[in-house]
Amino acid sequence: MNPILTDIYSTVIPSAPFIIAAYAIVWVVLLVYVVMVVRGLKKTEAQMALLEEAIAKKSRD
């Protein structure tokens, strides 16, 4: 390969793992956080529905 082209791209390949890691970590952590919050939200909504049902039943009795 042309030595000047080698020089131009000399930092490109060595830096690739760091760039991939930076973007991947941000995306993966965001995704995991969203999944955790949505799961927690669904669980709390289910608890809420059960409680409302129990309160309605209690007020009827």
């Binding site: 042309n2 000047i4 082209l5 020089d7 131009i8 791209y9 000399s10 930092t11 490109v12 060595p14 830096s15 690739a16 760091f18 760039i19 890691a21 930076a22 973007y23 970590i25 941000v26 952590v29 965001l30 956080y33 969203v34 919050v37 949505v38 927690g40 939200l41 709390t44 909504e45 608890q47 809420m48 409680l51 409302e52 129990a54 309160i55 209690k58």
Partner: protein, 253 residues
């Protein structure tokens, strides 16, 4: 102290409906920005070459720095962390003045989002530092002040877990959220206040080219929407959990 009008915390206000659209728009914009960073924004020049070379019809006279692409996520997440900290402190002050639990929850959730984005800033910055400077860490002024900021945010959550009394916990937490905000302008301005700082500064490097600026704006908007969407989603969960707890206590009575 003002008497609370409702014992059961409210949950499910209309802004909660914006959470999913904000997250979707944020994901779309950050993805578009990611593509722009690699396909639209020109590479940044590094060291000068011995002789220029024609590459793809363009005369190249410097090394091409791919590592600079980390900046397109690094700077927006740092700005979003500052915004989240500002909201955390704002709601902290609202709690201190009103003693309404809702504001403590707002502050806690904003601080949680701030911690997430502070960690993103540290990770993306550290990966760049490792490649460009050859070290994982250096006691450079920007890095040091940002580390202090991260430690304050971590201390905020450690304190929350350590204090049992809700009123005291919320009061201490509000004060810490304000202290964290005090570090934000120090962090932001430190590279200007200490010119010997080796951390790159856009204005010092000659500003951003239009293609760079457009990419940063798209990702910045995307990250802000992601931050807002996460905040609303997490806030809804936290308020619902408080409501469930209050209803359980009401049933027990």
């Amino acid at each position: 102290m003002a008497q609370r009008k409702v014992n059961v915390p409210e949950a499910g206000q209309w802004p909660d409906k914006l959470a999913v659209p904000a997250l979707a728009a944020g994901a779309a914009l950050t993805t578009a920005g990611f593509l722009m960073a690699f396909l639209f924004a020109a590479p940044v020049n590094g060291a000068a070459l011995d002789a220029p070379e024609l590459v793809g019809g363009v005369m190249v006279s410097h090394q091409q720095l791919l590592s600079q692409k980390i900046f397109y996520f690094h700077m927006p997440v740092a700005i979003v962390s500052f915004i989240a900290l500002a909201f955390g402190a704002y709601y902290g002050v609202r709690f201190l003045t009103t003693r309404e639990q809702r504001f403590d929850t707002c502050s806690r959730v904003a601080m949680e989002i701030a911690l997430l984005f502070v960690v993103f800033t540290m990770i993306t910055g550290d990966l760049w530092t490792r490649f460009e400077w050859g070290v994982w860490w250096t006691w450079e002024p920007r890095l040091t002040t940002y580390l202090i900021l991260m430690l304050i945010v971590i201390a905020y959550f450690v304190m929350r877990n350590a204090v049992d009394d809700p009123e005291r916990r919320a009061t201490y937490a509000s004060v810490i959220s304000v202290i964290a905000l005090v570090d934000v302008p120090i962090c932001f301005m430190i590279t200007r206040l200490i010119p010997s700082s080796v951390h790159p500064v856009i204005t010092r490097e000659g500003g951003m080219a239009p293609d760079m600026a457009a990419t940063v704006v798209v990702i910045m908007l995307g990250m802000m929407l992601v931050g807002y969407g996460l905040y609303r989603l997490r806030f809804r969960e936290a308020r619902l959990a408080e409501r469930v707890q209050a209803l359980k206590e009401q049933m027990e009575d």
